[in-house]
């Protein structure tokens, strides 16, 4: 029945329009405990009382997606939003990909949602036509009723469910999608369904999930990546009031993927008792080869590697020849440290093992990955893992890696009760899948106007590939394709090289991923070149982007990732990038705000997740070197926008996230152990440190919808350092900025 299963993820995502077609027509009736509803689509059911039950199959971590995709269904259904109930889907391949990651929910499911709604509307219209014995073309769904225009007859959707459910599901070609002029919700600013709950503390997150009789676990994990448990002594633990027992969790077998890290767990009748018991544990570890890992030494190693040739990953023209004949040359090296996601809600899940099956409630971005990872850990089939998805208190990529759900399931099997695992903040920061540290070396040969005739960019970083292949040393196609090999500038000679490097901690994707370090290096370098040429930065960027054109990206030895999208549908379009640069310059008042001592604007423009973004950041640097950000302007061309209000909020949030990583974020390691532990030594931006206001300027567009959750992040750090240079003359080539003394 389920054809989605047979299609590989790439193939599936590659045909965005396929998503709906593949799953439509599946008649199911398994909404948990709900009134049996007519389900013309896996995403939509209508109850006899008329309530439209729309399934949110993507995870809600703050983007608004569990409201916005259902709004698309409701629009095509001609549903009255007040008569819609949104239900969160469990993990199931019948929904297509549920991996809420990579800023692609709208891009991949907009068409499918419209088809789901339009299918149901057509069937309701046909049911009404049958009832009134008139041609169905004369019947029209309107705000939860079908209306017969000639006679003025009207029937509520609920009345038509019974007949509609007997009709064959229409072919896609017979659907009538609404014209834009009739949109009720698409492109409008309807509030999301969870806003009111969040003002009353009523939203249910992973940390809030409970199962009857559950125990609370606190887990002592291997302090070093790859360390093994040698022995432990829990004698003192047992005396702690509320502690029930201890249990060990087996360490992972390489590659680590999403397996549990292993360790010793204390199980108790409350979160507090478990944590107290854990303090009394005595554990000995075999640290293994990473026991001597030191992030300062690694940084020196990476900065040395970027001076050496690496594997060529893009090559245009002849860089060597151009450098040999160059008059002026500019070069610089940049460094970005390891970073931790630190979502406000740490990883949290509750799971129960019973009769060879697992039921879990988890804060997860990817319930199907939960099914697979837990099934792998327990040696059962993934269909025997039921994953309920709670609200997520932030995700940022951390919660698409379900090691914490595996922990809960493995412990439940041992203790014979449901087990809740909530990571402490210390656990979260010390045992993350870290955003990669990276070194970048840049070199340009310059013409008389200071414009590059040749451009060399070397990057060295531990790859996310190491999560899936323990021997991985080079970047993956997607890491290379994130704002690096797809450099859009009009430069005749261009080479990108990647040096080999091994991971010493778990490396994972974090909001905007490899764009973070590539954007920092590229746009900082552009800023340096503009300054060296003594040219206005906006004018320089526009010149660098060159004539309006689609830049064909042809990397060496791989295809251009482009978010798994075809370059004909989603080209690298310099006209769109120039447009956001011009728009942000205009809106920020760039031309009239010349730098003064201690106060200046900075700019960066970057395409990521198929979206074009330009940011202007205004900074103030006081006489003690303290940086504040009174204002940010961001122009965004993300193609069609479904909910402009949530799009703006994502970009506002991205400016804050970008500020955190630019100004203060840094994870370091000594003796293989992560040094940071909580928000005191891994600070994130607070209200007085964040941009005071971010103005978001959305470019009206009919281009296909691209990403929104991540693209706001990459330009922020280089725009801040651009502004700091203009205000102080200090060039910052390493993040976080707080490490550089500005006075």
């Amino acid at each position: 029945m389920n054809r989605v299963d047979k299609v590989s993820r790439r193939g599936f995502l590659g045909t965005a329009i396929g998503a709906g077609a593949l799953v439509l027509g599946v008649q199911i009736n398994e909404a948990e405990g709900a009134t049996p509803a007519w389900m013309p689509s896996v995403y939509l059911g209508i109850e006899p009382n008329g309530t439209a039950v729309i399934v949110a199959h993507r995870s809600e971590m703050g983007t608004g997606i569990r409201s916005v995709l259902p709004m698309v269904v409701a629009d095509e259904l001609e549903a009255d939003w007040k008569k819609v109930r949104v239900e969160q889907a469990i993990g199931d391949t019948k929904y297509g990909s549920q991996n809420t990651d990579g800023s692609c929910s709208i891009r991949d499911f907009y068409d499918a949602m419209r088809e789901a709604g339009a299918t149901a509307r057509l069937m309701l219209e046909q049911a009404a036509a049958k009832k009134w014995n008139v041609p169905s073309a004369e019947c029209k769904g309107q705000n939860h009723f079908v209306v017969h225009s000639k006679s003025g007859k009207k029937a509520a959707y609920g009345e038509l469910v019974k007949v509609a459910s007997t009709l064959p599901v229409p072919k896609k070609a017979d659907l009538r999608l609404k014209p834009e002029s009739e949109f009720r919700y698409i492109g409008k600013e309807l509030p999301t369904i969870d806003q009111a709950d969040h003002t009353r503390g009523a939203g249910k997150f992973g940390i809030d999930a409970k199962m009857p009789g559950m125990l609370y676990a606190s887990i002592e994990r291997p302090p070093v990546y790859g360390a093994k448990l040698r022995s432990f002594d829990d004698a003192a633990v047992k005396g702690v009031k509320g502690v029930v027992r201890t249990a060990t969790i087996e360490g992972f077998k390489p590659p680590h993927m999403f397996q549990a890290l292993g360790g010793v767990a204390v199980l108790a009748d409350s979160t507090w008792a478990a944590a107290q018991g854990r303090k009394k544990l005595k554990v000995e570890w075999d640290l293994g080869p990473n026991g001597s890992f030191d992030s300062a030494k690694e940084k020196a190693e990476i900065l040395a590697k970027i001076k050496q040739p690496g594997k060529v990953v893009r090559n245009v023209g002849d860089v060597d020849k151009a450098f040999a004949g160059a008059g002026k040359v500019h070069e610089a090296s940049y460094y970005v440290p390891l970073l931790s996601h630190a979502p406000m809600e740490p990883p949290a899940a509750v799971a129960e093992w019973r009769d060879g099956k697992v039921v879990t409630y988890a804060a997860t971005q990817n319930p199907q990955a939960v099914q697979e990872a837990v099934a792998g850990a327990m040696g059962i089939k993934k269909e025997d893992v039921t994953c309920h998805v709670t609200l997520l208190g932030g995700g940022f990529g951390r919660k698409s890696k379900p090691d914490y759900v595996c922990e809960a399931a493995m412990l439940s099997k041992q203790v014979g009760k449901p087990v809740k695992v909530v990571w402490s903040r210390e656990d979260d920061i010390k045992f993350d899948f870290y955003h990669a540290n990276a070194g970048m070396y840049m070199k340009a040969a310059l013409d008389a106007k200071g414009k590059p005739t040749a451009w060399l960019h070397r990057s060295v970083f531990p790859s996310i590939g190491s999560t899936f292949d323990a021997s991985a040393e080079y970047g993956q196609e997607f890491e290379m394709g994130m704002g690096w090999v797809d450099l859009p500038y009009a430069i005749p000679n261009h080479r990108a090289e990647n040096g080999a490097h091994k991971n010493h901690v778990r490396i994972g994707w974090m909001r905007a991923v490899a764009h973070i370090y590539h954007a920092f290096a590229i746009h900082s370098f552009v800023d340096e070149l503009a300054a060296a040429a003594n040219r206005d930065r906006v004018e320089y960027i526009l010149d660098l982007l060159g004539p309006d054109r689609n830049v064909p990206i042809e990397p060496v030895g791989m295809k251009y990732w482009n978010n798994d999208q075809d370059q004909t549908k989603f080209p690298v379009d310099t006209a769109r990038l120039k447009r956001v640069v011009q728009l942000v310059a205009e809106k920020s008042g760039w031309a009239n705000k010349k730098p003064t001592k201690g106060r200046a604007l900075g700019i960066a423009a970057h395409r990521s997740f198929l979206t074009y973004v330009a940011a202007v950041v205004e900074v103030e640097v006081d006489d003690r070197g303290r940086v504040t950000i009174p204002r940010v302007d961001i122009a965004v061309d993300a193609g069609q926008i479904i909910n402009p209000e949530r799009a703006r909020s994502q970009i506002e949030g991205a400016a804050v996230f970008g500020t955190s990583l630019a100004m203060m974020g840094e994870i370091t390691a000594a003796d293989g152990r992560i040094v940071q532990s909580n928000f005191n030594n891994y600070p994130v931006a607070r209200i007085n440190e964040a941009p005071k206001v971010t103005h978001v300027h959305l470019v009206p567009s009919k281009a296909p919808a691209a990403g929104i959750g991540e693209p706001g992040v990459p330009p922020i750090a280089p725009a801040i350092t651009s502004a700091i240079f203009a205000a102080t003359g200090k060039r910052i080539r390493e993040l976080p900025i707080r490490k550089t003394k500005l006075v």
């Binding site: 703050g62 999301t192 003002t199 507090w272 208190g393 932030g394 996230f657 909580n678």
Partner: protein, 151 residues
């Protein structure tokens, strides 16, 4: 036996007197609106009112809560919606929503002492409350609207 009042009703607790109020509220009373973010007084997610004052419940032990009057987010607008709650909805402040109970409790305490807060009042009162999603500008706007210092 520790006695205290939570959202107006009398409670008794005979567990570990060192247990933070946060876990009593969440694990024992099931008032899960109060969130855990750091356990060390660094993020404000666990903010409740103790005798009317904004307090980090993660670093307030049950023995220190004895005899006190506790209000959680569930109790804040129980009788009628607090103006901050209305303003929060008006501004669509929340992204993930996880920090917002703590933000609202902190802001409610601010408005009690400073009904017409300035920007710097807001900065200093709210800087203990982290929002990793970055909703700060809307938090500021919502406080100003609730206080009537901005439309």
């Amino acid at each position: 036996m520790i006695q205290l009042k939570v959202n107006g009703s009398a409670k008794k607790f005979d567990g570990d007197p060192e247990m933070p109020l946060l876990w009593y509220l969440r694990d024992v009373l099931d008032y899960t609106g109060t969130k855990f973010g750091c356990g060390a007084g660094l993020c404000g997610a666990c903010t409740v009112h103790v005798n009317g004052e904004a307090t980090r419940s993660c670093v307030t032990s049950m023995k220190d809560a004895a005899g006190k009057d506790i209000t959680t987010i569930e109790g804040l607008g129980a009788k009628s919606e607090h103006p901050l709650q209305a303003a929060w909805k008006h501004c669509n402040v929340s992204q993930c929503g996880y920090c917002q109970s703590g933000q609202i409790m902190q802001a409610a305490a601010l408005l009690k002492t400073k009904p017409k807060p300035t920007d710097s009042d807001i900065d200093s009162a709210m800087q203990g409350n982290i929002c990793r999603c970055g909703t700060y500008q809307r938090i500021r706007q919502a406080i100003q609207i609730a206080a009537g210092v901005k439309a």
